[in-house]
């Protein structure tokens, strides 16, 4: 009985491993395939040629543009979400429910529908493409940064700030030497999600950039919609996975450094097991 159940449990874990890993498998194989005939199950020749050709073409510029977009969204949406969350958590504003509803509304709305209408307005006002794209993506990211910081403030003790003030700390010192360090894991998580919103976006860039603002997702999409481009598609896609992966690892390291008890054996009562906060990058 217990043995059967254990075997079934193992089978379930194995199936879940396959479910989560298989979809990305073609990327690894195709990106490293220098030649792969239509019938064989594995590439005949391996090499890094596909990856280097990404940079030889205009892939490098697209990567820089995507990095700029992700960074701009993170730099704007993280502090905005943090101040909104603080005001909501400490009940400093009138109508907190209405404000929360407004800030979370973008999650429930299809962004393409908003952008299709906005397109004409931005064109008539002569708003530059990058500015319009950033503005829309910041609004898309705000629900995530606000939600995450709101959750962080729920576990945050304002008494630390009062204590520091009692000991004579200036408002600036309270902000930079008490509040910021205590909230830094949550802030890093929020910035990560906001970066992902900008880094992964396709439809907003497509609709507002009018084909002039070529980011990495635009290149991936144009390669993937053609036929016979498998190596290019895989190489571009792999490149698109590198920054999120690096950021995820550094986020994990940051958490580990700030909370060393969690490294080694994970404690069972730990609420946050994953370095990634509970939110979907609309990504």
């Amino acid at each position: 009985m217990t043995r059967t159940r254990r075997a079934l449990g193992l089978l379930l874990v194995f199936l879940l491993l396959a479910w989560f890993l298989t979809p990305l498998l073609p990327l690894a194989l195709w990106a490293g395939a220098e030649s792969w005939s239509g019938t064989s199950s594995l590439p005949q020749r391996w090499g890094a040629g596909n990856l280097t050709s990404v940079y030889a073409s205009d892939g490098g510029a697209a990567v820089l543009r995507s990095l700029a977009l992700g960074t701009a969204v993170a730099v704007l949406a993280t502090p905005a979400g943090a101040v909104a969350a603080r005001a909501l958590a400490l009940r400093q504003v009138r109508g907190p429910r209405l404000i929360a509803a407004l800030l979370f509304a973008p999650v429930a709305l299809p962004v393409f529908a908003v952008v299709m209408g906005l397109n004409v307005v931005l064109l008539r006002l002569h708003v530059p493409g990058f500015l319009g794209i950033t503005l829309v993506l910041v609004v898309t990211a705000l629900p995530y940064t606000t939600f995450l910081m709101r959750a962080a403030y729920a576990a945050y003790d304002v008494a630390f700030e009062d204590e520091a003030r009692t000991l004579g700390a200036s408002p600036g010192a309270v902000r930079w030497r008490v509040r910021l360090p205590l909230l830094s894991p949550a802030l890093a998580g929020a910035a990560f999600l906001a970066f992902l919103v900008g880094w992964s976006d396709y439809i907003v860039t497509l609709l507002l950039g009018g084909g002039r603002y070529v980011t990495l997702p635009i290149l991936v999409a144009s390669a993937a919609s053609g036929t016979g481009n498998e190596p290019t598609v895989a190489a571009l896609s792999l490149v698109a996975l590198v920054p999120p992966a690096l950021l995820l690892v550094s986020l994990g390291l940051l958490r580990r450094r700030l909370n060393p008890r969690r490294s080694g054996s994970a404690r069972r009562s730990d609420p946050a097991v994953s370095p990634l906060p509970l939110v979907e990058g609309a990504a």
Binding site: L27, L109, V121, F192, W199, A223, L241, P271, V273, L276
Partner: protein
């Protein structure tokens, strides 16, 4: 006072983008903001497509419902499996955490390479030419649903695991002491505790898949199209008269998404574990 000023910036940004954007979409769908000529109120954009609007709506609902259902089942199964031991939990949480930041477009590109005719699976299973089912760009949106379900199951698993991790252990021990078997513990302890998080995460998934463009565009057939794909095609059409129809499709998507979000919120608030 200062707090109100500070919150004003993000709130104004949301209002500016959402109200201006949706307002302009609604006005254009009603012929009140034409690219050329004088504005004239008309509902033609909502009725002129001879059932195309209905077909697109049906397909969109099908994709969103199927993706969400599959993602919820796999996500919940992952969260429950993660609770079995600390090592399994680390493994599955790591896997799920690595999946969530993958851009949907990259996921779609890779799923295309996996499931297309001549893709990885057809090679590995040794399918002879012409026998592979058209999972990509076929009559049914199979690849589209699988890509959404894959990515969103990771999201749902992450949310539900975090909820269960903080609450489950104590309840489980109590229930086991009182003689509850595994099924009874799942049915009467795990499921009620997971319900609010599962419900909200599923609602976010449903709304997202309903309004998302690139996966269905890349992996779906040329016809029939779901709402966002058809809307984008009409939006970029050289025929400017198609603009109001594109906007009508966008408004339809918005109304369905908004209604689904509100309904889900109302349902989740009625669950026992909602605080």
């Amino acid at each position: 006072m200062r707090a109100t000023l500070v919150v004003a910036a993000p709130v104004l940004a949301v209002l500016l983008v959402v109200v201006t954007g949706l307002g302009a979409t609604a006005l254009q769908s009603l012929g009140l903001m034409p690219l050329t000529g004088a504005p004239r109120l008309s509902f033609a954009a909502y009725t002129s497509e001879n059932g195309e609007l209905l077909t697109a709506t049906g397909l969109s609902l099908l994709i969103a419902a199927a993706s969400t259902a599959l993602a919820a089942v796999v996500g919940l199964a992952t969260a429950v499996a993660a609770m079995s031991s600390p090592r399994t939990r680390r493994l599955l949480t790591g896997l799920v955490t690595a999946t969530v930041p993958v851009p949907h477009l990259v996921g779609a590109a890779s799923v295309g390479l996996l499931l297309a005719d001549g893709g990885l699976l057809s090679r590995w299973l040794g399918a002879s030419p012409g026998t592979w089912p058209s999972l990509v760009a076929g009559r049914w949106p199979t690849a589209v649903v699988l890509e959404y379900a894959w990515k969103e199951s990771a999201f749902i698993a992450l949310v539900v695991t975090a909820t269960l991790a903080t609450r489950l252990t104590g309840y489980h021990e109590t229930a086991a002491l009182l003689g509850a078997g595994p099924w009874a513990r799942f049915r009467h302890v795990t499921l009620p505790l997971a319900a609010p998080a599962l419900g909200l995460a599923s609602a976010i998934t449903f709304v997202y898949t309903l309004g998302s463009y690139e996966v269905a565009w890349l992996l779906g057939p040329a016809y029939p199209e779901p709402l966002p794909v058809m809307a984008y095609r009409l939006f970029t059409s050289t025929d400017l008269a198609a603009r109001p129809e594109a906007m009508a499709l966008a408004m339809t998507t918005t109304v369905i998404a908004g209604a689904a979000a509100l309904a889900a919120l109302a349902l989740v608030r009625r669950t026992a574990a909602w605080r």
